[in-house]
Symmetry: C2
């Protein structure tokens, strides 16, 4: 198909497609003459993937490029795809105290999780525990275990639900689930928090999106 049809099928404007091509987010089409190119189904799918990561996942284009570059490596084995997606999604080299790092290591050992000692999520988690500690909020072991248990249930179900057909679809699903499953889980957690808070403190008088007479509104 030509670029106009690609734009129609993917619901992405032609100018944006050209920008993605220049930026290397989208592989070039098959050249037909000097100025035209033909595109295929893989381009449609790739465009939809980019839009989902940007719009629903809230990722910057630079981060999307990192993720795609990592998982597009043909030499990458399936068992390295998830780690590659994670590595490109999260910041690395976050500072953390030895104590929080040890807490994370202990938790991983306790749960029998097979994760590399170099996984950036270890540091990210230790850093978050430190941040809470610094403001005088100690996340105690019971709550941490509850988080870990809930995380395990979710992760097991997510990985089990990955399609097993062709490699490209599995890679795409891995990226999508990793990037978009997070917002789904956090939205459900907030809804469940609202319900738990209603039980503890009584039902809110007004919807969460309309609080405080004359107060500052968050319409952003």
């Amino acid at each position: 198909m030509w670029i106009a049809e690609l734009s129609r099928q993917s619901d992405v404007p032609v100018a944006t497609i050209k920008y993605y091509l220049r930026e290397g987010l989208l592989p070039a089409g098959e050249a037909v003459g000097a100025t035209r190119a033909r595109y295929g189904e893989t381009h449609v799918r790739r465009l939809r993937l980019i839009r989902a990561l940007v719009e629903a996942g809230g990722l910057s284009l630079a981060r999307v490029r990192n993720v795609l570059a990592e998982v597009d490596e043909e030499s990458l084995e399936m068992h390295d795809v998830l780690g590659a997606a994670h590595g490109a999604l999260i910041p690395t080299d976050l500072p953390a105290t030895d104590e929080s790092r040890r807490r994370v290591d202990d938790l991983i050992a306790e749960r029998g999780w097979e994760v590399h000692s170099g996984s950036p999520d270890r540091a990210l988690l230790a850093n978050a525990l430190d941040a809470l500690e610094k403001v005088g909020y100690h996340l105690d072991d019971d709550l941490l275990k509850t988080y870990a248990s809930a995380a395990t249930q979710v992760a097991d179900a997510e990985v089990a639900a990955l399609p097993a057909d062709d490699r490209q679809r599995t890679v795409e699903a891995t990226v999508l689930v990793t990037a978009l499953g997070g917002p789904v889980l956090l939205a459900l957690r907030r809804l469940a928090q609202q319900s738990a808070s209603a039980r503890r403190y009584g039902m809110p008088r007004r919807p969460a999106c309309d609080v405080g007479e004359g107060g500052v509104r968050s319409t952003g």
Copy 2:
């Protein structure tokens, strides 16, 4: 204490404290003469809270201001604090299809969650389901229920762990748990995913932070 001591105790530079004062993120100190002011323990705590939200929670200053303005409303009852924090944390008025909205409503009804019909998380969740659907990834009911069940366990434990002493500490803890519990949960989920992926596809050969010979690295 003077501003220099406030800076030392909170580990925030004086210039940054002055910026927060000008921007209304931090309440003014008690004026002593024309150019000096005294600050107290509440200022130290407020500064630590701001830094935690910015550095570990990844919130913009504009968003931090929204959250604080919402929860600082003295007229706000405890049972409205959580909703106010949520309302200020997440974008509102996201588009979503009727079908996904109905799925979310059904799920909430099924779980017996007490949440307002106007909660922006309903739209956010429906929007995320739509985004996945659009890229050809249907998040099936079993997986959605697993998310909801995990979210409930986490939320119940989080709300139960909120301190019950003075109002200001409870409000702070509510904001912190809402903003920083998310990154903790997501980091644990990624670690658990890596472990589940290792079981399904075999152990990765290299750490997640160092994949692909000659491939693009994510050092950001």
